[in-house]
Amino acid sequence: MFVLVSGRQVASTAAERMVAIDNRIERLEGRIARGERFTEPAEDPAGQLRAAALARLDARLVAEQRGIDRASSRLALAETAVADAGRLLVRARELALLAANGTTGPADRPVIAAEVRGLRDQLLALANARDEAGRFLFAGARDGLPAYAEDEEGVVRYEGFGTAHGAEAAGIEGLAPPTGPELFGTDETGAFATLDDLLEALTEPDDVLRQQGLEAALAALVEDQDRLATAQALIGTAMARLESETERVAAGRLEVARGLASVKGLDLAAAFSELEALRLTLGAAQEIFQRVHGTSLFDRLG
């Protein structure tokens, strides 16, 4: 059938189709340049939502990792202080045993007492250990002030309150450094009281009372050491937990990256072959348009 088509209409329709191919080529080139399957939400609304959720998850994992790192570093500082405190108590026990030994004379005891006093001061310094921000690690939530302070009578008292901050930023509860009483016991019966009792026993003139005092201090020191050891083990567990959380975050980020690649990532090979095909189509369309509509019967009329 001979179809009558207006020359102008054919030209404008063909031009529009060629412009449409041109636009597709332009969009595809944009995607290839960015390496992304879509450049604006309307190109793939569902994919964009998934991509946005994944990007948020990634930002969140990065922030969680910072929280984990911070909590880990606080726990590491706490662990060092607790280990040092443990060594101090071992030395205090050695000194108590030495003083309780019958061979120690009255002249030795002031020397031993001086060392015990030094140990007590060192223990106080360790109990007031700080993190890298200068906050007192064992003071609980009241960490702007030293965890322990001596009162007017020279008694070391716990000044902290509540619990310290741990890895809550990463959504994990209970990974805070221990509080002072968890490490050193109460003001009345804890490590500081033990060392004060030991000092008192060392200066006791009465042999029987002194011996009793020393033995009581030795027994208390064992308890104090046990408490510290327990706390140290808990810190170790908490650090191990944070390490596994770090692995979780790393694995999570990897998954996010994979997810993003599958949602947003462009299959370059497919994109290039589509681009080639479009260019070929455009070229062919132009060529055919020229050949078919380049001539009319008028050209043939002499």
């Binding site: 209409q9 910072r66 929280g67 911070r70 939530a141 009483p181």
Partner: protein, 625 residues
């Protein structure tokens, strides 16, 4: 013999006209809206009055031109108009929705500042005392508020531009209507079937096509070809009737979208918008208004949630947390007729909730007057002026009578970070509770902010308070003097003065739980954790981030759909245009073929005239001889 001459003369005339028409068609092959014309010819009857010389006339009268016929196809024209209206609608919607999408996504997206705000809260929870982390949190909150303001301003600007676009389309509709009425008038005065009538019909159809690109129309043609145009359907208001055309204007619909009103103000009536650019603009405005409402709701929720959580905590100075965000802002609009170049700066006092105001300059006294819009209160004097917590300052030179309108904005346009110092970030909880060292049981204490006791305790409670575990597991909340405030069981929230405490686990008899208010510089991170938990908090529309996603997909999904429909509509339009062109278009090959045909007919007629002349001459010669 004169017959022969007359017959071929009519043939020469008709073929010449046909050739002229072919030339006209070819000349207009590229003219938009040109409909192919052809000359309609018919055979003439022999003349009724015979001359005395024609005793045995042949039974033919030659050929006559009956008129010029346009190859118009009304059904296909209508279908092309309809599809062009669809394309115009979807094109307009696509253009504006793309702009709305751009003002909410990409570099203008709220996703990033929102995500960064929560990341900074996570850092604050990990390091609650750091000044740098607190300052970062405040700057992120500021960036989020700025982004809200920018998006709101973008949407506001787009809405105004959209209205201007719609006004332009309405004006185009009016001027097209007028032009069509003029064509109708000329059609009435022109002889049907003439070349002039065909030209006017072309012009009429072109105008109808352009009107259909603005709004949906229903067209009726009368015998003379005059168009009657109604908007919408056959029951819609009249836009053009004969030589009369109506006024049209666009007004904002209260629920978004536009309403097209036809007729003089006062007696106008609404026209349905089903296709055409105005329908697309109306659709875009509906979605734009909806996006603006969602944006405002999101901003209000961010401000309300963040403020409530922040106010529950204690800052580094030990004071109660203040609201983080202000929710109202004053926006200044200079009146169009202002002659001066004064610029007005407005500041709003904390917590002020002013209504709309107006600021005017009096050149005689050199004083400004700031007044409530309802004129119920005003202040007059030199700058700065304050009223209802609004302080205005002016720079530049005002002229007498200059007027400025101040309007309070809330939602996304109104949200702003309040001027807070890093120390005023409430990362710590207001109250702290812990188990006394030496407690024998295994139990923990949780504490949260609560209402103060009503009536206030008399005499006042002596701090600190504590919860004691009595025999049988009963809990008593007491002050330092042992006055019992309240009592309850394990697992209950006990109401204190401004707080509530809950003991859970297995406390032992004689255990106690201490309570204290957070002191300056203390308190840990519990409130930062509570602020961070807002990320997970689910409102009726899910989390904040869900609301944001809904805001974006509220535009992206219709935009994507519009693009798909637009592609289909273009294909439809092209098909309709091709169909019409097959019926009405100029095809050069066909014109060439017809040209050959008429050329030959012309030559043949001319030849017959020549033959008649020669025959006549021979006859005369023979007579003369």
């Amino acid at each position: 013999m004169s017959d022969l001459l007359g017959l071929s003369l009519s043939g020469v005339r008709a073929t010449r006209m046909a050739l002229e028409q072919i030339a006209d068609n070819v000349a207009n092959a590229a003219t938009p809206g040109h409909v192919r014309r052809s000359v309609q010819v018919g055979s003439l009857l022999p003349p009724a009055a015979l001359s005395p010389f024609e005793r045995d006339p042949v039974g033919a009268g030659g050929v006559e031109v009956r008129g010029i016929v346009r190859a118009a196809d009304l059904i296909r024209q209508d279908s092309l108009r309809r599809t062009e209206g669809d394309v115009a609608m979807l094109e307009a919607a696509e253009r504006w929705l793309s702009l709305v999408q751009a003002s909410l996504t990409g570099p203008a997206s709220l996703a990033q500042p929102l995500s960064e705000l929560f990341a900074s809260l996570s850092d604050l929870a990990a390091d609650p005392s750091s000044i740098a982390v607190r300052a970062t949190f405040l700057s992120r909150a500021d960036a989020l508020a700025d982004r809200f303001n920018a998006s709101a301003a973008d949407l506001g600007r787009l809405e105004r531009d959209l209205k201007a676009d719609a006004d332009g389309e309405a004006a185009r509709l009016v001027s097209l209507g007028r032009a069509l009425a003029e064509v109708n008038l000329q059609l009435r005065r022109t002889t049907p079937g003439s070349g002039a009538a065909a030209g006017l019909a072309d012009r009429r159809d072109k105008l109808l096509g352009e009107i259909a690109q603005v709004a949906t129309i229903d067209v009726r043609l009368d015998a003379r070809g005059m168009a009657q145009v109604r908007l919408g359907d056959a029951g819609g208001p009249l836009l053009v009737d004969g030589p009369r055309s109506e006024a049209a204007r666009v007004v904002r619909a209260p629920d978004g979208g536009f309403v097209l009103r036809i007729g003089a103000a006062g007696s106008d009536e609404p026209a349905p918008l089903l296709s055409g650019a105005l329908a697309g603009l109306s659709l875009a405005r509906t979605l734009l208004v909806e996006a603006g409402n969602r944006l405002d709701a999101l901003a209000d929720r961010v401000a309300a949630d963040m403020n409530a959580a922040h106010m529950a905590g204690a800052d580094a100075t030990g004071a109660d947390g203040e609201p983080l965000f202000a929710t109202t802002r004053m926006v200044v609009d200079a009146a169009a007729g202002n002659g001066g170049d004064a610029r007005i700066a407005v500041s709003l006092a904390d917590g002020a909730a002013p209504g709309p105001m107006r600021l005017a300059f009096n050149a005689t006294s050199g004083e400004w007057t700031l007044a409530r819009a309802d004129l119920s209160a005003s202040v007059t004097g030199t700058m700065p002026l304050s009223l209802d917590g609004v302080t205005v300052e002016a720079a530049g030179t005002p002229r007498g009578g200059d007027l400025f309108l101040l309007s309070p904005r809330t939602g996304a346009a109104g949200i702003a970070l309040r001027p807070l110092a890093p120390a005023q970030v409430a990362a710590a909880p207001r109250w702290l509770a812990d188990a006394a060292p030496g407690n024998a049981g295994v139990a923990r204490a949780e504490i949260r902010r609560g209402p103060p006791l009503d009536p206030p305790p008399a005499p006042p409670l002596v701090l600190p308070l504590a919860v004691e575990v009595l025999p049988g597991g009963l809990l008593e909340l007491r002050d330092a003097d042992g006055v019992v405030v309240t009592s309850g069981a394990v697992g209950d929230w006990l109401a204190g003065d401004g707080f509530e405490i809950r003991i859970s686990g297995r406390p032992a008899e004689g255990d106690s739980f201490r309570i204290r208010m957070t002191e300056p510089g203390q308190g840990g991170n519990a409130n930062a954790v509570a602020l961070l938990a807002l990320r997970e908090a689910r409102g009726p529309l899910g989390t904040l981030e869900d609301s944001h996603d809904r805001l974006v997909s509220g535009i992206a999904v219709p935009l994507s759909e519009t693009r798909v429909r637009e592609e289909a509509a273009r294909a439809n339009r092209d098909a309709a245009a091709e169909a019409l062109a097959q019926a009405s278009g100029v095809d050069l090959n066909r014109e060439a073929a017809e040209m050959l045909l008429f050329q030959q007919a012309y030559q043949a007629n001319a030849r017959i005239i020549q033959t008649a002349r020669e025959t006549f001459a021979a006859l005369l010669q023979s007579v003369g001889t």
